[in-house]
Symmetry: C2
Subunit: 312 residues, 2 copies
Amino acid sequence: MDLRQTAALSDSFHKMTFLKELERVAWVVERRLDELLGQGRAPIGGATELAQAMRYAVLGGGKRIRPFLLMESARLFGVSEGEALDAACALECVHCYSLVHDDLPAMDDDAVRRGRPTLHIAFGEATAILAGDALLTLAFEILGDPRLHQDPAIRAELVLDLAKAGGWQGMALGQALDLSAERQGFGQADVATMQALKTGALFRFACEAGAVLGRADASERAALQAYASAFGQAFQLADDLLDAQGDAEAVGKAVAKDAARGKATLVALMGVEAAKTRLGVLLQEAEAALAPFGDRAITLLDTVRFAVNRKR
Amino acid sequence: MDLRQTAALSDSFHKMTFLKELERVAWVVERRLDELLGQGRAPIGGATELAQAMRYAVLGGGKRIRPFLLMESARLFGVSEGEALDAACALECVHCYSLVHDDLPAMDDDAVRRGRPTLHIAFGEATAILAGDALLTLAFEILGDPRLHQDPAIRAELVLDLAKAGGWQGMALGQALDLSAERQGFGQADVATMQALKTGALFRFACEAGAVLGRADASERAALQAYASAFGQAFQLADDLLDAQGDAEAVGKAVAKDAARGKATLVALMGVEAAKTRLGVLLQEAEAALAPFGDRAITLLDTVRFAVNRKR
């Protein structure tokens, strides 16, 4: 083999290692979520349906990219997987609740998610609303629990941060903007603002939570927030490209639905080529933000590359 | 005036004083909720609709009985109104979110609440779902905020307690049971269990939160929980009696709707007279639970009497 072949082989081995790690962490997260959702009680018949619906919504697989980001951010500061795991699960509960409610008939009215019927199709609308509510509440039960961290100041700070990220000035506001009547007239800046709230806020929380668990200093937090911001934009842009170009079977959910609904995405507004160029810029921004962490941040770097290059 | 007249006059003056105090605290709570819901931002057009819907759901008046219970419980231990106010507002946010989601077409499908159109009638279903989600999230934002209490251990404990009270093993489970197919065959014990979760859990949280803020000891907490449990049952029974006997105008919402839906209430299962007798027993239980606090608990005593005798 010449040097170029060696480099290519090493690169592909590195990618494979990353994907294996992503899969392993997703499995760890799934197992812990299973535990956290297995402590229910059923005082009378019918009580188990809510818990079953919650399990259906949360344990349906998925890349678990938000928990992964949280745990990798925490690891920058020497926080072990076990110490970050419950915060990661709380975040995933909020993500899953948002999918359940966004899929409702009154919202995006989606029937398929991750290749399966959405929750309201499988369990009915009332149970889907309730299961979403209960998952959102469970996230804070997990964060408030002394098992999460021995220092209550850390627990309270994570609660405050997650509530802000998910709430009326974060993710919920983003979804409101996405649904609003004015949506039709949105320009690129409006769509970017909406996405920074709707999907960006939870990515920023993931990295911030890692910093909180790791007791990071202000400059480290700022660096991680810059990374998270670029990551969120890149993730969403890649998603929009998949929606514009992908096929439903590979992506695992309905595609081209934004266009069908007359909702302008950034890709539609700027065109596919410009979107790909923008993806490259965001990747560079994410890399630059991680520079202060040196080699410790190699997995976070892999994660944004993965988000940009993924096929589903 | 003879002694009996004097006693009757003193009693009616006492009642009036209590009602004035209940009104005053409701006003204080309303004003603080208004502040907490006035800090939104509107980055692009349409963003204010969500905040408006949240304000509509929360600032529509109401007795504010849960915040009142929380603040009065805290006052037993010398905690001032100002120190308990934000926790009381967080609790009210959870109560209001639950009303918004319970009223949805897929749930109880109610068009009138507190004499006004319900949120989904006024703002549409999608915004009602989102506003409920955002109010639930806001509750935890308020509890996680350092302004709530300087001790993060208190903040984290309130978060854990509220999440448990509202969640999949508390209020949300109660609502799931209320909606479940098995509901038709419920006996008295089943209905009692369902109500202890659906409405009782938040009353118990109100008193527990007062105890947490007041750093109450275990026996004080147990006494308050016994009071809260009797209070919750009495409140619900009085509500069912109003539903069975009242007229919509006086009550401010649809009446006799449980019967119309074929949902058995405790009143329907045990009869009006037995229900009134049971109310008397619960009142005695609440009084007995408060005995250890002596005269300090006079307002909590008034509160359960009010709940039992109210006409709406």
